[in-house]
């Protein structure tokens, strides 16, 4: 992160922040849009949208190889994104930031990239609350290599059961990969604590920070992350853009998952050598337009102050927990303490199935997500196949949450016999 903002600047920036998001001005089924699906993808501020437009209107070109003005401008925009995206999470340097398609691609790159360092019987430790993006790449890796997957269980309160760590981390543990903020429970995990145990055992620590970055201050050093991944689209940036940030040395050790242009040093018909990281992981024409459009999202977040962003979401979660508690029988998942939670709440209504709930809420303009949220094992653990999730962003308000509660009440009435 760059320089801190003053309290006054931050307050000024917060004023009318929702007005900067054009999509929030639309109506849905004749209601104002109440967008509570930020955890799936955040809405984009006008500055992001116009930056992408300007890029295409002015500097559109392929990067790196080009010796003409547009290509230079495009390259500068692309590399500026790398720098800013790294700064946001305390990357050691711009060259430790790989630009990817999304967080999912980044996690797959890590799994494929470290495959050659892993042997049958080596252990990888995950958690029971992972998103499929941090499960399936390792399952695929285990199939290919015979690596053994273990999982930190969760308590009934929705926390990682750290008491189990000593028996789960051992000399065979080579890597621990865990989610920073659960996209279902909301739990903000004590990543640093897990990382310390992992590092003591000589294991690498990978952090899936897809739900944390842009919603609270995140510093990979503090988390003890050797690798941290996130997606731009979940923190107000464009789609088609994600990041893999690594501590020095690791990218050198990793093998590239994909081959092609831009990632090579020398290519012969039958052999090739790779460029230095981060380029060796960026095969083909990158999404320069998205890269050009991300920094304005970071400018906005910085002007608001990430501490203030976190406080805002914490207040919203507190309000949501309180409000949902007034609805008899509704089961809310995850910790009760808003301090331990990111800006989202998943719940189950015994009377209304999540799909019906989402459809009914949509009729009232309230956009929530229903389903397993790419966390089937967690839902199995919770004993349900689907939940309804409301998730918040810098533009969310208590009114939005009240509209949600109102919608749930309506749905219950609608379905009551």
């Amino acid at each position: 992160m760059r320089g801190k903002v003053t309290a006054e600047d931050s307050a000024a920036a917060w004023k009318g922040v929702a007005d900067r998001f054009p999509a929030l001005r639309r109506t849905v089924n004749a209601h104002r849009l109440v967008y509570l699906d930020t955890a799936a993808t955040a809405q984009k501020p006008d500055a992001v949208i116009s930056a992408e437009k300007s890029y295409y209107e002015e500097s559109n070109a392929n990067v790196h190889r080009g010796i003409h003005t547009l290509a230079e401008e495009a390259t500068a925009a692309y590399e500026n994104c790398r720098k800013r995206a790294g700064e946001l999470v305390g990357a050691p340097s711009p060259s430790s930031v790989v630009i990817t398609r999304n967080a999912t691609a980044a996690l797959n790159m890590v799994a494929r990239g470290l495959e050659h360092t892993l042997r049958e019987g080596d252990e990888i430790l995950l958690t029971e609350m992972e998103h499929h993006a941090n499960l399936v790449p390792w399952i695929m890796l285990a199939r290919r290599t015979g690596v053994v997957l273990k999982h930190i269980p969760i308590t009934d309160g929705g926390l990682l059961d750290l008491g189990k760590l000593p028996e789960l981390i051992g000399p065979r543990t080579r890597l621990v990969s865990l989610v920073h903020v659960s996209n279902v429970l909301g739990t903000i995990n004590p990543v640093a604590e897990v990382a310390e145990a992992a590092h003591r055992a000589g294991a690498l620590v990978v952090v899936d920070a897809a739900q944390g970055v842009g919603h609270m201050p995140v510093a990979m050093e503090e988390l003890g992350a050797d690798v941290l991944v996130y997606s731009a689209h979940k923190c107000y940036g464009p789609m088609g853009l994600g990041f893999l940030v690594a501590q020095p040395g690791l990218l050198e050790e990793m093998e590239p998952m994909e081959g092609g242009g831009e990632m090579i040093n020398e290519v012969f018909l039958d052999r090739a050598t790779w460029a230095e990281p981060p380029h060796k992981f960026e095969a083909g024409t990158p999404n320069v337009a998205a890269a050009a459009a991300f920094p304005p999202a970071l400018d906005l977040l910085e002007s608001l102050g990430l501490d203030a962003v976190r406080r805002h979401e914490e207040e919203l979660v507190a309000h949501a927990l309180q409000t949902l508690a007034t609805l008899d029988g509704l089961v809310v998942y995850g910790p009760h303490d808003p301090k331990l939670r990111g800006g989202l709440v998943a719940f189950h209504d015994p009377e209304v199935h999540p799909h019906d709930m989402a459809t009914l809420l949509d009729q009232a303009g309230v956009a929530v997500r229903a389903g397993h949220h790419c966390a089937q094992p967690l839902h199995r653990r919770l004993g349900v196949v689907a939940t309804t999730r409301a998730s918040f962003g810098i533009y969310s308000t208590k009114d939005d949450i009240d509209a949600l509660a109102e919608g749930i009440r309506f749905a219950r009435r609608y379905f009551s016999p």
Binding site: N29, H355, T359, H372, Q376, Y414, P417
Partner: protein, 159 residues
Amino acid sequence: MNMNALDQLYREVILDHHRHPRGRHRLHQVDVEASGLNPSCGDEVTLQLELDGDRIRDVAVDGRGCAVSTASGSILAELVTGLTIPEARRIAEHFKQVMHGEEIPDEVDLGDLEALTGVRKFPVRVKCALLPWITLLDAALTDAENRPAEPVNTEEEGS
């Protein structure tokens, strides 16, 4: 609230089937059992058929799902009981075509199933309505020609 659209989706007969699903009984004899899953949302359904030659003597439906998929399974139990396998297949194919918005080649009486066609206004919910029927078509009826049951994925069919 946009009552008209909603009430098209959740017609009274749907809500009734949802609240009082048919086919939730045990069969005397299970000749065919097949399960279906909507991976994108987790809805599950299990169908059991009791056969008498190529006639479906009884149907049991179980599963976890939304009002639409529950009602659809319930209507299935009601509609298919007593039909021959080709007759059941004809209804299921027909319903699938209707839900995919295709031109309907011939007249088939859909009975209560007619009420489910309101779901077409809600494209993402179409797969909820189709789950039991795809399971019937792709697994149960095919198994009625005696192959071992395996779960089917109806995702691409419905979205």
